[in-house]
């Protein structure tokens, strides 16, 4: 079973190739270049896209444009190769790479995406419920390091691998493979124009 996983929700997009639980390779790229990474991974292993059996895609939260690049790519790959697709939350994958840590993704606009009692939420970093010594990972944790550390949390060094979303974890977490359109984006925020209209 050959699986291609990709997550383009954060500025450091990730792509992984996994065969029956064994990681064949993983690449980092910009979101728009995620297929450059996929092509390299397949070529290195003497494979072509037609060899793929399943697709896994990070659904966010993160950059809205990044999420859409990933989902448009994954859904269309599933359509073109007639494969099933599974979505995995970017927060869940980030957390899987740093067991016990709280994933904190930069949401821009002075907000972060994180998990609250297991559910993905958007909030201001000051609103995070932190316990002393709690480990926080992700580009949001790096960005708001000073604030989080003041609140007693621990944030690994900026260069730590723990802050980066890695697509191999999506493969490990993936479940419920199905038709392309069933995998939905996780924006966690309505467009500003909707908000303005609603208020």
């Amino acid at each position: 079973m050959l699986t291609l996983a990709l997550d383009t929700a954060t500025p450091r997009a990730s792509c992984a190739l996994v065969r029956d639980g064994e990681l064949l390779g993983e690449r980092e790229s910009r979101a728009v270049a995620v297929l450059v990474a996929a092509e390299e991974l397949l070529a290195e292993n003497g494979l072509v896209p037609g060899d793929l059996d399943r697709i896994v895609c990070g659904t966010g939260p993160g950059s809205f444009t990044g999420i859409r690049i990933g989902l448009a790519t994954a859904r269309t790959l599933a359509l073109a190769l007639d494969l099933s697709l599974a979505g995995v939350s970017t927060l869940a994958a980030l957390a899987a790479g740093a067991p016990g840590a709280l994933p904190v993704i930069d949401g821009s606009r002075k907000e972060v995406f994180t998990l609250a009692e297991g559910d993905p939420v958007v909030m201001r970093p000051e609103e995070l419920v932190l316990e002393p010594g709690m480990l926080c990972v992700g580009d949001g944790a790096v960005r708001y390091r000073a604030l989080l550390e003041r609140a007693g949390a621990e944030v690994p060094s900026d260069a730590s691998e723990l802050h980066v979303v890695r697509a191999r974890f999506h493969v490990a977490l993936a479940a419920g493979f199905g038709p392309a359109e069933r995998v939905e984006p996780l924006y966690l925020r309505v467009p500003d124009a909707e908000k303005a209209l609603g208020s």
Partner: protein, 323 residues
């Protein structure tokens, strides 16, 4: 067979064009209703909708052409100009199809696409010709010497013609999109009721902001009841001023460069007054005036396809590349 995708603004579109230039499918899923309550296109709302629609629209196009991706040997996609977030949905989808099926891909400029709608049959136009390209985002006079080579002669200094229609429709309370609404209402009105100014600017450029201001002052001076009774006359006079500006500059440019043929493309090319005034001009069929993927497929026939190493990292561009 060429499979083309277009997502530069608020239409999610896919088309299939066969080797003999026959259009086998042309699916356009318009988001106009979605954006009507905002009075214009909201980029984030449009981009979200593109993602929802892209796979269903692709499926619909294949179904309409009664074909499969096995028959496709070239993929084309709009690279820009347009809304970056919207373009990237189409580009990601196009790359995924081309890459997974080992096909070449052609990135197409949206404006060349509008012109290339003229190469489809009808009107199956051949260069050289002078093209007025007027839409919600652009108002351009282009000298087209070869299929894929456009020379810019003039453009708008402020609003695009389609934008002028949208803003005018909003002032008149006619809703969005404004072009079709004004066109419809203008048919019941007297185009000579109001003498709206037509800006005369240098070269072959256009300007519509003064016209919009003139309409604003007229509307402000009317009570709601008066506005209701004068709405058709205002729409007709306002439309007449826009069309006159477009036609005057187009005819001047045609004379200057000695163009034997004039053509009209873009969404404003659907305007009934413009179509009737520019007698003898080559016109894009109504359904291909507004954004669609058939025009992108048409343009792709005259461009160099890229291999995966050239397109896998392809990015979108937001603004006009034509100098």
């Amino acid at each position: 067979m060429i499979l083309a995708i277009e997502t530069s603004c608020d239409e999610t579109a896919a088309a299939l064009l066969d080797g003999s230039g026959r259009l086998c499918a042309n699916v356009v899923s318009s988001q106009a209703e979605l954006h009507a309550r905002f009075g214009g296109v909201v980029p984030e709302v449009a981009s979200r909708r593109h993602l929802e629609l892209i796979v269903p629209v692709l499926r619909a196009a294949l179904e309409e052409a009664q074909t499969t991706l096995d028959e496709v040997d070239l993929v084309a996609v709009t690279q820009g100009p347009g809304l970056i977030g919207a373009l990237l949905v189409g580009i990601a989808a196009a790359k995924a199809i081309a890459w997974s099926r080992r096909l070449p891909l052609v990135p197409v400029d949206h404006l060349l696409g509008h012109v290339a709608a003229l190469y489809l049959d009808p009107p199956a136009l051949e260069p050289p010709f002078l093209c007025l390209l007027a839409s919600g985002g652009h108002t351009l006079l282009l000298e087209v010497r070869e299929h894929a080579s456009l020379r810019l002669l003039g453009t708008t200094l402020d609003d695009a013609a389609g934008e002028a229609f949208d803003k005018g429709a909003r002032l008149l309370g006619l809703g969005y999109p404004g072009g079709a609404a004004i066109d419809r209402r203008a048919r019941e009105g007297d185009a000579s009721a109001y003498a709206f100014p037509v800006a005369r600017v240098g070269g072959f450029d256009f300007s519509f902001s003064g016209l919009k201001t003139a309409l604003l002052y007229e509307v402000r001076g009317l009570s709601p009841g008066e506005l209701a009774s004068r709405r058709a006359d205002l729409a007709a006079s306002y439309q007449h001023a826009i069309v006159r500006a477009l036609v005057e500059q187009t005819l001047r440019a045609a004379k200057e460069i000695g163009a034997g043929q004039i053509a009209v493309a873009g969404g404003v090319g659907a305007n009934s007054e413009l179509r009737s005034v520019l007698e003898g001009a080559a016109l894009v069929p109504l359904e291909l005036c507004t954004d669609n993927a058939a025009m992108i497929a048409s343009a792709a026939r005259f461009l160099e396809p890229l291999q995966p190493s050239g397109y896998l990292g392809l990015d979108a561009y937001a603004s006009r590349q034509l100098a």
